[in-house]
Structures are given as C-alpha cells and as structure tokens.
C-alpha cells in the first residue's frame, strides 16, 4: 500500500538523516560556488590580458576540466594525489577542492566572455577620465560584465549543485547516498521505498536549485527595468 510507502520517510531517524545528507550536498556546493565566483572573476580578468602565454595557460586549465570527467578528477585527487603525497584529507574536502577548481575554470570562461563582449569604447571612456587599469575593472568593466554573465553563471551554479551527487563515489555521504542507504535497508518491508525516497530527494534538489534560477530572473528584471 502506498500510504505505507510514504511512511518510510519518517521512520526512525530517516528524515533527519536525509537532511544531514542534504547539508553535505549544500555545503560542498555552496562553498565551491562562492570560491568559484571569486576566483573565476580573477581568472577571467587574467584571461583578458594581452599576454599570449597567460591566455594559453587559462585555456589549458579550462580544457582540462572540460575534457576530463569530474568523476575522474575526484578519483585522481582522492585516491591518487592523497596517496602520492601521503596526506589524509576527507572526501568532502577533496570534493570542495575539485568542484572549486572546476567552477573557477568555467566561471573564468564566462567572465572572460562577458568582459570581451563589452564595447571597446567603454575602456576608452574609462581611461579618458584617468581611471587606472584596476579602477577600470572595478568600476566600469566588472559591474557591467556581472550583469551580462548572470544567466550563464546561475546555470553553472545549478550544474554544480547537481554534479555534487558524484561525490558518493569517493565515499562522501550526501543526500543521494543517504537515500540509497535508506532504500536498501527498507526494501523488504517497503517495496515502494525507492519511489518515495528518491522522489523526496528529487524535490530536495529542486528546492536548492529553484531559488537560484528565480534570483537570477529577479536580478535580470531589476537591472533591465
């Protein structure tokens, strides 16, 4: 009976454990997104520099994350680098590092694109009132670039939230993994457990990602209005 099915969510510590798992997901995603946004702006600015070599380095960095699957990055960092350097760091920290590196690369590319899309005479106008290169970025270019890149940046953020579900594979117990554990334990008594638990996880992801899209929409309207 389905009414029995939904009760699996409230049995014992299940609900609390699901939310603990959700917190792990949110923590990894939130820290990575914040780090990526800040470092991404720095990377984007460096990327627009005149130096061919700097641009090449940025390009290679981005391509490394585009070409190699994030899962492989997680494995390399968690199993490879930690044993090679003989250090012991938690799966959660490795996840934050990998997601920050990936996010920074993608965000850098978004910032670069936005900066390059700004009309050239904005730079001339800024220079003409005596702004330093720093002032030019600080007051003229970055504020305008941020507006232009907002949809792409929010898209990246939601992608990052969703991709955190890979961290189970290096032993991090996130919301998806908790769900899986609950299902495995209650499958015999509650045959429909997977429907209810995964359905609930589905809704939880929606609850995290939806506000991001709605904030971006609201900001866009505000700035264009």
């Amino acid at each position: 009976m389905q009414s029995l099915g939904i009760s699996v969510l409230f049995k014992g510590m299940n609900m609390q454990r699901l939310f603990e798992g959700l917190m792990v997901t949110v923590r990894i995603a939130f820290i990575s997104i914040v780090v990526s946004s800040l470092l991404g702006i720095v990377l984007g600015v460096i990327w627009t520099s005149k130096s061919k070599w700097l641009r090449l380095v940025c390009r290679v960095y981005l391509e490394m994350f585009r070409i190699i699957p994030i899962l492989v990055w997680l494995f390399v960092m968690y199993f490879g680098v930690t044993t090679a350097l003989n250090i012991d760091i938690s799966g959660e920290l490795v996840s934050i590092i990998v997601f920050s590196l990936w996010g920074t690369a993608e965000m850098g590319d978004i910032v670069r694109g936005a900066l390059e899309s700004l009309p050239k005479h904005q730079i001339d106008s800024g220079k003409a009132i005596g702004l330093s290169p720093w002032g030019l970025y600080r007051y003229i270019l970055i504020p305008q670039a941020v507006k232009r890149m907002l949809p792409a940046a929010i898209n990246l953020a939601t992608r990052m939230v969703k991709t955190t579900s890979l961290v189970v594979l290096i032993g991090v117990i996130d919301v998806t993994k908790v769900g899986q554990q609950i299902i495995e334990r209650s499958r015999i008594e509650v045959p429909t457990a997977s429907f209810w638990v995964y359905g609930f996880v589905f809704i939880l992801y929606f609850i995290i990602c939806y506000p991001l899209s709605s904030i971006s929409k609201r900001l866009e309207n505000k700035w264009n209005g």
Binding site: H121, K127, I129, G130, I140
Partner: protein, 257 residues
C-alpha cells in the same frame, strides 16, 4: 551663466599649452599621421577638418595617450608625453575627451557617471564635486535628469552629459572627437551650443567635426588634414573663403550644393 571650474583665459598672452612636434603614427606598415606640427595656446579653439579617414580622430587619440606614436613629441604643460614613464592616468585628468558615441557608463546614473572620476580618481571632496556636477548639469539644462540612466536619455542629452563628465574633472584642454556625428540632426544644435558656450568662456579646445558652420563660428584656427598630413592651417574666415591648397578647395566644394 558661467562654467564652473572653467577659468577665463586671456587668449592674447599666447602661452603654449600643448605642442605637437614631428608626430608620426603608424598602424603596422600603414602610416596614418605624418610629420604633424602644431602649437595650441591656452584658450585657443582649434578645429580639425579633413576627409573621412584622414587621421583626424587618431591625432586626437594620440594627444591623450589612447594611441601610441612612433616618432615625434607631444609637449603638454612643458612636459613631454612620449617617455615610457609618463603617468597617463595623471595627464588624462587634465585632458578631457568626449567621443563620437557618447560612451556613458550604462550601469550608472547620470550623476554617478559625472562624479566617478572626480571622486575615485581625483579623490576630491564629495560635497564639492556634487555641487559642481549639479551646476554643470544645470548649465546644460539636464539637472532634472541627474538620476536617469543613460538608456533613458536621447543622443543629444547623452552627449551633453558626456561633456559635463569631462568638464567635472576640471581639465585644462578638451578634445572633442566628432561628437555630433552620430546624433540625429535636430539634436546637433543643443550639443554645439554647449561647446560654443565653453569656447566663449575660454576653454582650450581641439575639435574634430564635420559641422562647417560651427567650425567657422568657434574656431580660432582651422587645421586641415588630408592623407595624414597637415595641409593648411588658417583662420576660419581665410580658410573658408580663400583656401590656399587645392585639396582644401576640393574638400570644401563637397560641402556645397
């Protein structure tokens, strides 16, 4: 009404403010400007005329360091602007420039556009800058638009704001790069009026334009450039009634029906 921050200058004292000596400018292999020599006195209004693509705008951009020059010298307030250690951020505060495409900063209101330079670059007192900005805006008839965004303004209004933005830095010389070229015809007048007012007040100005009657009215001297060279320097009356070079005659003929 007076222009705040624009000091009235006696043109007769002939004090040279800006001097261009043997300037050469190339883009790759193409020579854009060749052997340009020109002295600009304090309070003088120079109008540069010439066919499209002759290098007039490039010359203006060289004067405020937006373009590098390959040979020659530019001397501003008795200092060369051609060394590598020239502090352009400092120099540009004294050389105001207004562009063809009224490039206001679209994410800032009119007043924010105007006070950005004086406050962030010149680190001047906020209250004093604000007062000056308001007075200048009032002078160009746009005080009521101070909190508007550039996209809410017409082309002519934007260009007047751009002029105020440059003026609020208290420059000693103003460069105008075809500032009416992208305006609808009915808006040209309001911008030219502002410039004429400035000229009367004694602002040193270098103006690139295609507005012949304006050139005639405000210029102390006309500089005619063709193919990257100065062909003729003359007083406006002289230039328009009796151009000495054939190229200038040819150029002026194109403006007559």
């Amino acid at each position: 009404m007076e222009w705040i921050g624009v000091s009235i200058v006696n043109k007769k004292n002939n004090e040279v403010l800006l001097e261009i000596k043997g300037l050469h400018k190339k883009y790759g292999e193409t020579t854009v400007l060749e052997d340009i020599n020109l002295s600009i006195c304090k309070g003088e209004v120079i109008v540069i005329l010439g066919p499209s693509g002759c290098g007039k705008s490039t010359l203006l951009r060289c004067l405020n360091g937006l373009e590098k020059i390959q040979r020659g010298d530019i001397i501003f307030r008795n200092k060369s602007l051609v060394n590598d250690d020239v502090d352009w951020q400092e120099i540009r505060q004294h050389i105001g420039m207004v562009f063809q495409n009224y490039e206001l900063f679209p994410h800032m209101t009119v007043i924010e556009n105007i006070i950005l330079g004086p406050i962030k670059v010149q680190k001047r007192n906020g209250k004093e800058v604000m007062e000056q900005a308001m007075q200048l805006l009032d002078r160009v008839g746009l005080l009521d638009r101070k909190d508007s965004y550039p996209r809410q303004l017409s082309g002519g209004q934007k260009q007047r704001v751009a002029i105020v933005r440059a003026l609020c830095m208290n420059p000693e010389i103003m460069l105008f790069d075809e500032v009416t070229a992208s305006l609808d015809p009915e808006m040209v007048r309001e911008v030219l009026d502002v410039m004429q007012g400035l000229a009367k007040q004694g602002m040193t100005m270098v103006v690139v334009t295609h507005e012949m009657s304006f050139a005639r009215a405000v210029a102390d001297r006309i500089v005619f450039i063709d193919k990257g060279r100065i062909c003729e320097i003359a007083e406006p009356h002289e230039f328009f009634t009796n151009p000495k070079t054939e190229r200038a005659q040819h150029f002026l003929n194109k403006f007559q029906y």
